[in-house]
């Protein structure tokens, strides 16, 4: 234990909130405990940590610091936020050298809503540069270490958020998921990660990677915390034309059984390519689900094997355009002593972007070029449509699709950095849901060789409440204990 009272740190966010409400814990005490722990972080989870109690939160008027937010629904439980969320006056660098020291003038909608609900900003978390990566090794600010084994990666791109929550350096965290960037690090760090329905959470103020896929979501110690945090993020935002109002508010989960729930196991995503230890844990979880009353059947997602290929056309295409604004003209780095405009652009972007970002910009630029658009972008969009239809067909027969979240447990630092495809294949089971825009949650379902395994549950559009209930019932039955890795 580095700092702080272990009893406080072992509280989930919902429990801490209840303690504050009951007057047995002060919000200031909780914030200070986590701030001290975050400041002493050895896992490189953070790119910025608050150096004092929170002042202002985007909602007027700010409350007194000692009880900051304690009269609000989230009671002042502090929040770690992925670096790519814009936070007013606080560095927001998206893991990139090109935005080093950039402090936005405004708050992302999700951050502002959570602050207004009483979750003040504790820290900004490390991530793969512009959310491009599955190991957090693409960060310009160094890799994050997995608290379960510091020689291994935490997953990515929300690796800092996942490791911080797992290690007890933050009660909960915000992440973003484009092809698995919440779910996969949650799985590799033994915590809960939820990617909501596309449009459920405003993207305003999220430094974009791939606009049609990016979604914000919670990384938490348990399913209840995920529901609590999600409930205060969601909803239509006038600043995001693609945001939507949910048909019903997010409810705290309460289901104890899964009677009548039909689980579909897609053969394409649960066999070949998945590690034996991961498959064992996955199958054991299916048996637990049956014990809770669920039925399990095989389903087919015939186009899912093409999802990764389509994703690696669409996401780079969008990123090649989204990252064009980093040109050195208005903010972030600018190459000095450039000879002319082109030289300034070229050197700024050459020096400012890392290798993986450059690779994807090149891929995307090529895919959108005249003469190649139909063969790449157009075809990838058609594959995406087929995948949407695959899921629609499956959800006519089952309530949820379940898969291992990641085909492997946490792998060693540096193990896959030399081979992009071996890295990309990590998202094999999570990308199809991203392309379909449907919600999916990863919960820890056991260990393989001492490392956590994630169990992914995906539902139809706007099925978050049912999804959280099913995850909650399973979580109770599994009884996963991640407290051993609190640092």
């Amino acid at each position: 234990m580095q700092t702080g009272d272990p009893a406080i740190i072992e509280l989930t966010a919902a429990q801490a909130s209840a303690e504050i409400e009951a007057g047995r814990l002060s919000a200031g005490e909780l914030f200070d405990a986590y701030r001290a722990r975050a400041a002493a972080d050895e896992l490189n989870c953070f790119t910025w940590v608050a150096d004092g109690p929170p002042v202002g939160d985007g909602a007027e008027p700010p409350g007194p610091s000692a009880t900051h937010g304690s009269d609000r629904p989230l009671r002042g439980v502090p929040l770690a936020v992925k670096d790519l969320f814009c936070t007013a006056g606080v560095p927001s660098q998206s893991g990139s050298r090109i935005l080093e020291g950039y402090r936005p003038p405004y708050n992302a909608t999700a951050v502002a809503r959570l602050a207004a609900a009483g979750a003040p900003l504790l820290a900004k978390t490390n991530q793969d540069e512009f959310a491009m990566g599955s190991s957090n090794e693409n960060s310009a600010y160094g890799p994050v270490l997995n608290p379960w084994d510091r020689t291994r990666v935490p997953g990515g791109s929300s690796g800092g958020s996942a490791a911080a929550v797992a290690a007890g350096l933050a009660p909960w965290a915000l992440g973003t998921d484009t092809g698995g960037s919440i779910r996969q690090p949650a799985a590799l760090c033994g915590i809960v990660g939820l990617k909501p329905t596309y449009g459920a959470v405003s993207r305003y103020g999220m430094i974009a990677f791939a606009s049609s896929l990016d979604q914000a979501g919670p990384l938490t110690r348990d399913v209840t915390d995920a529901a609590l945090l999600l409930g205060h993020m969601v909803g239509r935002d006038e600043c995001d034309a693609t945001s939507l109002e949910l048909p019903a508010p997010i409810a705290l989960p309460s289901a104890e059984r899964l009677d009548g729930v039909r689980l579909g196991v897609p053969v394409e995503l649960s066999g070949e390519g998945v590690e034996a230890g991961v498959l064992d844990a996955f199958r054991a979880t299916l048996r637990r689900a049956e014990e809770l009353g669920a039925s399990v059947q095989e389903v087919r997602l015939p186009h899912a094997p093409h999802a990764l290929s389509a994703y690696y056309v669409l996401a780079p295409a969008e990123c090649s355009s989204n990252l064009a604004r980093f040109d050195g003209v208005r903010y972030g780095r600018r190459a000095q002593d450039a000879e002319d405009l082109l030289d300034m652009y070229t050197r700024t972007r050459h020096d400012g972007f890392g290798a993986e970002v450059k690779r994807r910009i090149m891929l995307g630029t090529y895919a959108l070029s005249a003469g190649y658009y139909d063969a790449y972008y157009g075809r990838a969009q058609r594959v995406r449509t087929k995948i949407v239809q695959d899921f629609e067909a499956v959800f006519a027969d089952v309530d949820f699709v379940v898969t291992p979240t990641s085909p492997s447990v946490a792998f060693g630092l540096g193990e896959k950095t030399g081979d992009p495809w071996s890295m990309y294949i990590n998202d094999f089971c999570t990308v199809p849901m991203s392309l379909a825009g449907i919600p999916a949650i990863s919960i820890p379902c056991g260990l393989s060789d001492g490392l956590p395994v994630g169990f992914q549950i995906a539902g139809s559009v706007f099925s978050e409440n049912r999804l959280l209930d099913a995850a909650y019932a399973l979580e109770r039955a599994i009884g996963f204990d991640g407290s051993g890795v609190r640092v």
Partner: protein, 522 residues
């Protein structure tokens, strides 16, 4: 100077001969070329806020004071389409007779330039808001919505990009809504282009969707120009003349480019597809970029926006706000009011005259100044009486006001001019007296009847007083009277002149003529 007035076809032919003689000894003399011109017009929409954010439009505020995270392209910001801009786009589409797309989408047009903060412009590409249509004799290809770029200011002696010490960016203009109107290649001369653009400007102004001020950049025009042998069907290689910012420059630029292409084709050369700049100071055309250097804009659907879905209520709302457009006004004035086609056209296409005339016509219909049998409050006069009123509005009034003064801003109210016209028609005053009243109104304002009273301009009845004056005139102009008897009708001039002098112009010319003939017995 005179070259601007010349018939463009004649100029093209002249250019051919000149170059033919110099370069290829008359080979090209055999070929007449026909210019084929299409226009792309950017109209800044007069919405309250920008195309994709809540910033107000800029009217000369200090640089970078009308900006926000969205129009500065800050990381994480997102666009939201301006509903009012879509509404204006629909009004334009309805006015041009376009087909309105039930669903249109925005694309990203990707290229790097400091005036483009996101590295892409949000524009419509292959699914625009409006397709087809026609204005005057020119067919419309499409109308779409997009955002304007920011303004670059080049610091240094020249004020141009070359030789400047630095460039600074003012993002106030960035994100201003634009409607881009693209025509079919139906224009055949520089003059026609200028004339048609004036019609388009009037139409946009009447719609109220834009200030359409070329000098301030709220109306900008590119021209695609190619030549082909007269009578040929297939199009020649075209060039694009960019961003001309006055009607005069547009006409001069197009003329210069036609002449340039003529020279190339006339000497057996081939026109190269490229983007060109016309410098009005030097009359020179320079290349901005060739086809090989053309950008690959990598268009793809803008994922941050949802499709623009148009429903019947939106179309109805746009239609309700449509004013009477020039073509409709011309038809009404000709067919319902009974004006000559020429006068109707003039009143339709010069909207300030048209509005003034309609007001005067309404005043006349209210019985202003009228002593005729038409009941007050009925429709305005029609036929000859309306034509007479129109002549006062389109000829007499502008002659006195000059080209730069709008009649609505003058001292002469529509009621007043309706009164003058009605008094002349009712023979209460002569035409000459009416002109004197108008002189007085233009100078000092006032009410026509009062002026007639004060100045003693009331017409002399065709009674004994006038007969006596005519008799005196005949006596004083015996030789002229003699010539008239001999059959020389023109000899009446000095006789009438005498009467008008005597009556200070109050006598009715027709009545004087009748009395002269009567007293001479012819």
């Amino acid at each position: 100077m005179s070259s601007e007035e010349q018939d463009p076809a004649a100029r093209v032919r002249a250019g051919t001969r000149a170059r033919g003689e110099a370069d290829t000894a008359g080979i090209a003399d055999a070929i007449d070329y026909e210019p084929v011109i299409g226009l792309e017009i950017h109209v800044q929409l007069a919405t309250a806020t920008k195309m994709f954010c809540g910033c107000g439009l800029s009217f000369g505020e200090p640089p970078n004071t009308r900006t926000c995270p969205v129009c500065l392209g800050l990381p994480g910001s997102l666009p939201v389409a301006n509903a009012r801009a879509v509404h204006f786009g629909l009004m334009i589409g309805l006015a041009l007779g376009s087909e309105l797309a039930p669903r249109s989408i925005f694309h990203r047009k990707n290229y790097f330039y400091p005036d483009l903060p996101k590295g892409y412009q949000i524009s419509q590409y292959d699914e625009p808001l409006c397709r087809g249509g026609q204005l005057g004799e020119v067919r419309i290809h499409r109308v779409h919505l997009e955002e304007d770029a920011a303004k670059l200011v080049h610091v240094g002696a020249s004020g141009r990009i070359h030789g400047s010490d630095a460039s600074i960016v003012d993002f106030n203009r960035g994100g201003t809504p634009l409607a881009e109107i693209v025509t079919e290649p139906d224009v055949r001369s520089a003059e026609q282009a200028g004339e048609w653009l004036r019609l388009l400007r009037t139409t946009m102004r009447q719609l109220g969707v834009s200030d359409v001020n070329m000098e301030e950049g709220s109306l900008r025009c590119d021209a695609n120009i190619s030549l082909r042998p007269a009578g040929a069907q297939e199009l020649g290689v075209k060039t694009e003349l960019k961003n001309m910012n006055s009607f005069r420059f547009i006409e001069r630029g197009i003329r210069a480019e036609i002449a340039r292409q003529e020279g190339i084709l006339g000497s057996g050369g081939q026109v190269v597809q490229e983007t060109l700049h016309f410098d009005p100071a030097s009359e020179r055309i320079t290349s901005l970029r060739s086809k090989e250097e053309a950008h690959d804009y990598r268009y793809f659907p803008e994922p941050d926006l949802v499709p623009v879905a148009i429903d019947a209520a939106m179309v109805d709302a746009a239609r309700r706000e449509l004013p009477e457009l020039p073509a409709q006004r011309a038809a009404r004035l000709e067919q319902e009011v009974g004006l000559s086609a020429e006068t109707a056209h003039l009143l339709a296409f010069r909207s300030e005259l048209g509005e003034y005339f309609d007001a005067a016509l309404a005043a006349a219909g209210q019985g202003e100044g009228r002593q005729s049998a038409v009941p007050a409050g009925g429709p305005g006069p029609a036929g000859e009486e309306a034509q007479a009123l129109a002549n006062w509005v389109t000829v007499e009034l502008p002659k006195r006001l000059g080209a730069d003064v709008s009649p609505l801003e003058s001292n002469v109210t529509p009621q007043a001019i309706a009164t003058i016209s009605a008094m002349v028609a009712g023979k209460e005053i002569s035409v000459g007296a009416g002109r004197q009243v108008l002189d007085k109104l233009v100078a000092d304002g006032g009410e026509p009847r009062a002026i007639v009273e004060e100045e003693g301009l009331a017409a002399i009845d065709g009674g004994e007083e006038l007969a006596g004056i005519v008799a005196a005139a005949l006596a004083a102009n015996a030789k002229a009277a003699e010539n008239m008897r001999a059959g020389n009708a023109k000899a009446i001039g000095p006789i009438v002149g005498y009467v008008m002098r005597e009556t200070k112009g109050r006598a009715d010319g027709g009545e004087v003529t009748r009395l002269v003939h009567e007293q001479l017995g012819i």
